[in-house]
C-alpha cells in the first residue's frame, strides 16, 4: 500500500476529459486505487469516472492517492506522471 499526494495543475481541473484519461490509466493496473480530497474522508475509486467527476477537483486542488496491490509502484508512477503532465492539456 502506497500513498502519494498530487496537485491538480491543469486549467480545467478533473473534468470529463481528464477524468476519462485518469480512469483509462488507472484501469490498466490490478491494484485498488482510490482518491480523496485533502482533509475529506470520502474516498472514491479512481477507476470510476462518475466518482472522479463527483470529486469536483478544480485547478489547485490537492488529492491523496492510495494504491494497494501487486503493481502499486508502477501505478503510482503512471498517475503521478499524468498529473504532472497536466493530462496532456497544455503541452
Amino acid at each position: 500500500m502506497i500513498q502519494q499526494i498530487v496537485r491538480v495543475e491543469n486549467q480545467l481541473g478533473l473534468h470529463a476529459r481528464a477524468a476519462a484519461k485518469l480512469v483509462r490509466i488507472a484501469s490498466r493496473f490490478i491494484s485498488r486505487i482510490s482518491l480523496s480530497r485533502e482533509g475529506a474522508p470520502r474516498q472514491i475509486d479512481a477507476k470510476s469516472i462518475l466518482g472522479i467527476l463527483m470529486l469536483a477537483a478544480s485547478k489547485g486542488a490537492t488529492l491523496i492517492v492510495s494504491i494497494d496491490g501487486s503493481d502499486e509502484l508502477e501505478a503510482g508512477e503512471a498517475i503521478r506522471t499524468l498529473f504532472e503532465d497536466k493530462f496532456g492539456e497544455e503541452s
Partner: protein, 602 residues
C-alpha cells in the same frame, strides 16, 4: 403530506381526471416500476448487462466513426459516456436497485442515474453541473436498448396514468394503451397541434404548454389534470380532491352507462325505424371504446393518422389488411367503414412531404389526390378488399365533388379487385360510399347518389365549405354555424335524396354527438349516425326517449326560421321539453351558435 402545487398551461382537450404520473423520457420512452419476483431477478440483471454491453458497442462504433470525421478533441465526450457504462459503481447501484427493490431493469436504471444526476447537479462547478446531461444521455441509451423494440407491457401497469412529457409526437399515440393512459400533460404544444387534435378525438383530457413542470413531477406522483381550465395539480389536497370528486363520479357514471348496454338492441325509434349509432375513429385501438359504448360498427375510420404516423412508414398491404380485419372482427357482425386517405399530409417528424400536399381545405386532397397518385390509394384499397374476405368492410371516398371522380375511383377499385381475386366467385362485394362534404356534391347529389351504395355526410367540412369559414382561423371561427339556415337546407336535401333513391345516408360529423343537433337531424329524416364513441350512450338514450313525430315537428319548425340564433333558441326550448334527459352540458355548444352569430367570441 406533500405540498400541493398547481401548474398552469393551455387546456386543449376537456375533462378532469385524477391519476398518477407516468413520465416519458425522450423518444417517448418511459420506465414504470414493475415488481420482479425472486426467480426472475437474475434474468433482469442479465437483461441489464446485455443492454449495457450493447450500449457500449454502439458508443465505440460511434466514436470511431466520429474520430474519422472530426478532430479527436470532440470524441472525448463519447469516451466519457463509454467510461460511465463501464463504471462499476454505477452498474452495482443499478443491480442493487434490481435486487433490493425487486424492480425491473428500466426502473433501476432511472433510479440509479437520477441519484447521480442530482449529485452532479448540486456541485458548485458550472461545467460539472452540465455533466448531469451526460448521465441522462447514458441512461437514455441503456433504456433504449432495454426495451427499444419490445412492446410495453401495458397489462402490468395501473389504469389511471397521466402521461407527462416534454413533447409527444402524434405517432406515439399508436404506442399508448388508452385503457390505462387517461390524460396528457406536456411542456410544449398548443391547441392546434396534431397532438391536441388527437387528444380531443380520443377524449383524453390534455393540458399543454405547462412551462417547467417536469422537474417537479416524477412517475407515480399523484395528479389532477383539468383540461377545461388548463391546470395540472401535483399532490392535490384532500379539499381539492373532494372538490372534483363529484365531477369525476359523473364521468365514471357516463362511462358505466356505456358499458351497461354493449351491443344493445340499440336505439330503435318508436315507430320501428331502426336508428343505427356507429363510432368515428382515428386509430385502430379506439375500437375498444366503440365496443364498450355499444357502437354498431365503425361508421367512419379516418385513416390519415393511422397511415401517416407509423414509425416504419406507410403500412403495406399486409399490415393494413391485418388492421382492418381485426377491426371488422371486433365489430362483427357490424360493418367497418374505412375512409380512404384524405389529407395526404405526412405528419411524421422528419418525413415531411412536399408543401403542395399540405392540407389546404381547397387543395389537392381526398379523392383528387388519390386519383392523381394512385399507389397509396391502391395499396389501401387492396388491404380493404382483403380484409373484406373475412369481415364486413365498406369504402368511403372523401372530398367527392363530381360523378366522374366516383366513376374513376370505382374503376380503380375494380381493377385492384380483379388483379387480386380474378374471376373468383363468392367474393361478397364491398359497398362504396361517398363523403358528402362539399356543397357541389349536395347540389349534384342525384347523380352522385345513384353511383354509390351509401352516403356519409361529413358535417364538419360541409359547414366550413357552405359558410366559407375556416374553423382554424380565429378571426372567422365564430361564423362556423352548424345551425345556419343554409346548412339545414343542405342537410334536408341530402335526407330527401337519400329517402327518394333508397340510398342510406349516415351523418358522420360531430354534430350528431350533441342531443340538440341529433334530434334535429333525426327530424330531418336521418336514421344513421356515426360519432365519437363516448357520445353514443347519451345519444342512444335521447333516441329511446324521443317520439319521431316530435323530432319531425321540431325540424319542420327549424326549417321555417331565418337565422342560426332563432334556430338555436327554438331547439333549446323544444328539445328540452321533449326529453327527460339532463341536457345542461350540451346547451353551451348550442347557445354559442346563438351568441356568436353576430360578433367574434372573446
Amino acid at each position: 403530506m406533500k405540498q400541493e402545487q398547481v401548474f398552469r398551461g393551455i387546456g386543449v382537450s376537456p375533462g378532469i381526471i385524477r391519476g398518477q404520473a407516468l413520465k416519458l423520457h425522450s423518444h417517448n420512452r418511459f420506465a414504470f416500476k414493475l415488481y420482479v419476483d425472486d426467480v426472475h431477478l437474475d434474468e433482469e440483471v442479465a437483461r441489464l448487462e446485455a443492454a449495457i454491453r450493447l450500449s457500449r458497442e454502439q458508443l465505440q462504433s460511434l466514436k470511431s466513426r466520429l474520430a474519422q470525421k472530426v478532430a479527436h478533441e470532440h470524441s472525448f465526450i463519447l469516451e466519457a459516456h463509454i467510461l460511465m457504462l463501464e463504471d462499476r459503481s454505477l452498474i452495482s447501484d443499478i443491480v442493487a436497485a434490481i435486487h433490493g427493490t425487486h424492480a425491473n431493469a428500466e426502473w433501476a436504471v432511472l433510479q440509479a442515474t437520477e441519484q447521480i444526476r442530482r449529485a452532479l447537479a448540486s456541485l458548485q462547478d458550472d461545467y460539472l453541473r452540465e455533466r448531469a446531461s451526460d448521465i441522462d444521455d447514458v441512461a437514455e441509451r441503456i433504456l433504449a436498448n432495454l426495451s427499444g423494440s419490445q412492446h410495453i407491457q401495458w397489462s402490468r401497469l395501473p389504469r389511471d396514468l397521466i402521461v407527462i412529457s416534454q413533447d409527444f409526437n402524434p405517432s406515439s399515440f399508436a404506442t399508448m394503451d388508452f385503457e390505462r393512459v387517461r390524460g396528457l400533460a406536456l411542456e410544449s404544444g398548443g391547441r392546434t397541434s396534431h397532438t391536441a387534435i388527437l387528444s380531443r378525438s380520443l377524449r383524453i383530457p390534455a393540458v399543454m404548454g405547462i412551462q417547467g413542470f417536469l422537474g417537479h413531477v416524477t412517475t407515480g406522483d399523484s395528479l389532477i389534470l383539468d383540461g377545461d381550465e388548463g391546470l395540472l395539480v401535483l399532490n392535490p389536497s384532500p379539499e381539492r380532491i373532494d372538490g372534483v370528486a363529484e365531477h369525476l363520479a359523473q364521468v365514471e357514471e357516463q362511462a358505466g352507462r356505456g358499458s351497461a348496454v354493449p351491443g344493445a338492441p340499440a336505439a330503435s325509434g318508436h315507430d320501428g325505424v331502426h336508428v343505427a349509432l356507429r363510432a368515428n375513429t382515428d386509430l385502430p385501438h379506439e375500437v375498444a371504446a366503440a365496443k364498450k359504448c355499444g357502437a354498431e360498427g365503425i361508421g367512419l375510420f379516418r385513416t390519415d393518422i393511422y397511415l401517416f404516423m407509423q414509425p416504419d412508414g406507410f403500412p403495406d398491404v399486409q399490415t393494413q389488411a391485418a388492421t382492418y380485419a381485426l377491426l371488422s372482427k371486433e365489430m362483427s357482425p357490424h360493418p367497418v367503414a374505412v375512409r380512404t386517405l384524405d389529407t395526404g399530409v405526412d405528419i411524421t417528424p422528419g418525413r415531411t412531404r412536399p408543401a403542395r400536399r399540405y392540407n389546404s381545405i381547397m387543395g389537392l386532397r381526398g379523392i383528387r389526390l388519390s386519383l392523381l397518385e394512385r399507389d397509396q390509394f391502391c395499396t389501401q384499397i387492396e388491404a380493404i378488399l382483403r380484409a373484406g374476405e373475412s369481415g364486413r368492410m365498406e369504402i368511403v371516398l372523401p372530398m367527392v365533388t363530381s360523378l366522374e371522380e366516383i366513376r374513376r375511383a370505382k374503376a380503380l377499385i375494380e381493377s385492384v379487385r380483379s388483379r387480386i381475386f380474378g374471376n373468383r366467385e363468392g367474393i361478397h362485394p364491398i359497398p362504396v360510399g361517398a363523403m358528402i362534404e362539399v356543397p357541389a356534391a349536395v347540389m349534384a347529389l342525384d347523380a352522385i347518389a345513384r353511383e354509390v351504395d351509401f352516403l356519409c355526410v361529413g358535417t364538419n367540412d360541409l359547414i366550413q365549405y357552405i359558410l366559407a369559414v375556416d374553423r382554424g382561423n380565429p378571426e372567422v371561427s365564430h361564423l362556423y354555424q352548424p345551425l345556419h339556415p343554409a346548412v339545414l337546407f343542405a342537410l334536408k336535401r341530402i335526407a330527401e335524396v337519400s329517402r327518394t333513391l333508397g340510398i342510406p345516408a349516415r351523418v358522420c360529423g360531430e354534430m350528431s354527438a350533441n342531443p340538440f343537433f341529433a334530434v334535429l337531424l333525426m327530424g330531418l329524416g336521418f336514421s344513421e349516425f356515426s360519432m365519437n364513441a363516448f357520445a353514443i350512450p347519451t345519444i342512444r338514450k335521447v333516441f329511446q326517449e324521443l317520439q319521431p313525430d316530435i323530432a319531425r315537428e321540431i325540424a319542420r319548425c327549424a326549417l321555417c326560421l331565418n337565422s342560426a340564433a332563432e334556430i338555436a333558441e327554438h331547439l333549446l326550448e323544444s328539445v328540452s321539453a321533449a326529453l327527460h334527459s339532463d341536457l345542461s352540458t350540451f346547451t353551451r355548444e348550442l347557445l354559442s351558435s346563438r351568441d356568436n352569430a353576430s360578433s367574434p367570441a372573446r
